[in-house]
């Protein structure tokens, strides 16, 4: 089965390509990227006029809640939502019930994902039971399909255990992905410590709760020569620490989420629990630091930290509502609107953190759009406005502070391994 994508602006961040080109797909593989590819009889034609043709997006940080909380989301359901957002690969975080600390569970996720439209790469736990006491059977987990290790949702508080994890994981060449937070310092805080928290009488989480742990983690990565990836960076100070570590050759990469470059803690007053996540939204200074960190490349990856929660859980007192927002369907509109339109990012620079960078960090062998590559493709109309509302969001949980917003950037098609897995009313 062949597909030809005509008249699109092909952007491949890995090679720097940004030109009007056609893309020819044969089976699961991109067979040609060239101008004016003739339409053969019998092949499917996609007219991408006015659109950007990108490598399929990769979100290395999602919560699909299965096993354990299938009422919130499932592996298949989450995959359908991801495809709608332009994603062809996602990495599921292991804080499910039970947690993903043995090979059978990794295999379960892979098996379940085969029924869905896109690639799912499981991340397994660093510690057994995510209890921060003993490292998991990392070799067995990697054999089962794990692409990285994380106790996401909580930090590895013990420094010696973190050291061992970074050392041991070296032989598999996979990253240790940290939720860097000194939970004793965050002390049951709810939102960023600062003006908004003071005015609203809410317990604050100081940025230092994130920064001190990142400082520890990069120093341990230096000590062990292990591979460290820091999840959901939210504070400008963290970027400075990571930059320092990178400049000294520490093997560290990091990600931020679209909400950290789109919003500040001021959003809490209006959106209440819909703007509650951990780490919390910070200040305008931090928001700008995320944008500049992405521009300079200190921040390698944009990942959504897609975290579905039921409406009845979010419709509670702010203090009692769970942390987290969904992000798969708002990522492309936020990247286009905030990074490209407002901050002058090239399309290549804006989507590098969603394609080749996460692929390289995790060794996925995807995230490129060139002849011979796997045909994972997202076609985006960057000039088309979309309105985020109940009918736009297909995720069964609609916990997002972006509800009601009008943004640029509409995902028109998603193609995974040569198969159209999403199309917007075409």
């Amino acid at each position: 089965m062949a597909i030809i994508i005509k008249n699109g602006r092909v952007v491949d961040p890995a090679s720097g390509l940004d030109e009007l080109m056609d893309v020819h797909i044969t089976g699961e593989i991109v067979s040609r990227v060239a101008p004016d590819i003739p339409v053969e009889p019998g092949c499917d034609l996609i007219d991408a006029g006015g659109c950007v043709v990108l490598p399929g997006l990769i979100d290395m940080h999602v919560h699909f809640r299965e096993p354990g909380s299938e009422d919130k989301e499932t592996i298949i359901g989450g995959s359908i939502v991801a495809a709608k957002g332009g994603f062809t690969s996602v990495c599921t975080m292991p804080n499910t019930t039970p947690v993903i600390d043995n090979q059978a569970l990794v295999r379960f996720i892979k098996l379940e994902a085969e029924k869905g439209p896109i690639n799912v790469f499981p991340i397994a736990n660093i510690t057994k039971g995510a209890n921060g006491e003993e490292i998991t059977e990392m070799g067995e987990l990697v054999k089962g399909g794990a692409v990285g290790f994380s106790d996401d949702g909580k930090p590895v508080l013990s420094s010696i255990l973190m050291r061992r994890a970074l050392e041991y994981a070296r032989m598999f060449d996979v990253p240790i992905i940290t939720h860097s937070e000194d939970t004793l310092l965050s002390d049951d805080g709810i939102i960023n410590e600062g003006t908004t928290a003071t005015l609203l009488g809410l317990k604050g989480i100081p940025r230092e709760a994130e920064e001190v742990m990142i400082a520890r983690d990069v120093l341990l990565a230096r000590l062990t020569r292990g591979r460290l990836h820091i999840a959901h960076v939210s504070s400008g100070g963290s970027i400075e620490i990571i930059q320092w570590a990178k400049s000294r050759g520490v093997q560290v990469s990091c990600e931020t989420a679209p909400h950290y470059f789109a919003l500040t803690d001021a959003a809490v007053e209006e959106h209440l629990s819909m703007a509650k996540m951990n780490p919390p939204l910070r200040t305008e200074e931090d928001r700008i630091a995320m944008i500049e960190g992405l521009r300079s490349g200190v921040i390698d990856v944009i990942a959504t930290d897609h975290a579905p929660h039921l409406l009845n859980e979010k419709m509670q007192e702010l203090e009692y509502a769970p942390f987290g927002i969904i992000g798969l369907e708002t990522a492309v509109p936020l990247v286009i609107s905030v990074l490209v339109k407002q901050n002058g990012f090239s399309l290549g620079a804006a989507f590098r953190p969603l394609t080749i960078n996460p692929s390289n960090i995790l060794g996925l062998g995807r995230g490129e759009l060139k002849a011979g590559a796997v045909a994972d493709i997202a076609i985006v109309n960057a000039d088309k406005k979309i309105r985020i509302d109940d009918s736009f969001i297909i995720s069964r949980c609609k916990n997002t502070p972006f509800m009601g917003m009008e943004l640029y950037g509409s995902v028109e098609y998603t193609i995974c391994s040569g198969r159209v897995v999403y199309s917007a009313g075409h």
């Binding site: 005015l199 609203l200 007192e317 009692y320």
Partner: protein, 315 residues
């Protein structure tokens, strides 16, 4: 102006300065009622007031209850021993139940900041915040403001000290906002662990030394110190706290002779305030309680669309 053009009383920030003045002005008329043998007026006849307290409180709840009863409202008192989470029913469901029973006013106290704001976005009934978390206690601030006005005639140019655990105090947040609106200068006093620098955004002064600020104060509001704060190492011992920040008889002797001593209650005698001071002629602590009923009557009256009471001889 015709009453308060709003559904809810959530915090001082959302009130205009005119509304704050109007409430205080109206409270005076209701206070006059208390000297009569019949203290009840039919202003809220046929209306239903529901008090919903998710945190223990005696004086605030009784004050609202008495205010509603003196206005002839029907009263339901729902005492929730613990949070909605522990109880099993969500806050929103509990309140929808009250609404289904046609409650007109919901007076709520809640340990979680912004709980009344969350409610007001989701229900039709009027929500009156009787204290939410560390965030706001607008009716306390209004009665404090009224009490100072009654004694001093104005707040313009007054130097008002608020002493104690500012960080965890909804009273302090609402008080400083109200006092500043009416032209007072506010100084916060306590240890840095309880008076963080962030409070400077309120445009107030901060002092760690009570002895330094006391002589210049026209009003001092002593906040209740929560004994459990000591466990979080916010101060080392009640003894040391008392040494540094308690209003003792000796300290009162170094104040202006006409200083007003206030306390939102309940008092920890011998911790933040010595009993001789609490009972001294400078103390208006009991008067604050009386005024609380009058101010809350004024709030109900104005929320119900009542007109300013200037023109009314009698209510």
């Amino acid at each position: 102006m015709n009453g308060l053009k709003r559904k809810d009383i959530l915090d001082i920030q959302s009130l205009t300065t005119e509304e704050i003045s109007l409430i205080c002005q109206s409270a005076r008329y209701f206070k006059d009622l208390f000297t009569r043998s019949v203290k009840t007026v039919p202003i809220l006849r046929g209306k239903t007031v529901c008090t919903l307290f998710y945190e223990p409180s005696t004086r605030t709840r009784i004050s609202f209850e008495l205010a509603a009863k003196r206005l002839s409202a029907d009263m339901i008192n729902v005492a929730v021993a613990t949070s909605s989470v522990v109880k099993g029913e969500s806050l929103i469901d509990t309140v929808h139940t009250m609404e289904a029973m046609k409650a007109d006013y919901i007076v709520m106290r809640h340990a979680a900041s912004l709980a009344p704001h969350f409610l007001s976005k989701n229900i039709e009934a009027s929500v009156i915040n009787a204290g939410d978390g560390f965030h706001a206690h607008p009716t306390q601030a209004l009665l404090d403001t009224y009490s100072i006005l009654e004694k001093k005639g104005t707040l313009e140019g007054l130097r008002i000290g608020i002493v104690g655990d500012i960080k965890h105090s909804r009273v302090a947040r609402s008080d400083m906002e109200a006092f500043k609106r009416l032209g007072a200068r506010v100084v916060l006093c306590g240890p840095p662990t309880l008076v963080p620098d962030e409070f400077k955004i309120y445009d107030v002064d901060i002092s760690y030394n009570l002895d330094e600020i006391l002589p210049e104060l026209d009003v001092v509001n002593m906040l209740r110190i929560q004994k459990e704060r000591q466990k979080g190492s916010l101060f080392p011992s009640l003894r040391e706290y008392h040494r540094q920040y308690a209003l003792t008889g000796e300290r009162l002797g170094r104040c202006r002779s006409d200083i007003i001593v206030m306390h939102p209650g309940p008092i920890n005698r011998g911790i933040e305030i010595d009993h001789l001071v609490a009972d001294s002629p400078n103390s208006i602590i009991n008067e604050q309680v009386t005024n609380g009923v009058a101010v809350r009557m004024a709030i109900f009256y104005l929320l119900a669309g009542g007109t300013p009471l200037d023109e009314m001889e009698k209510v």
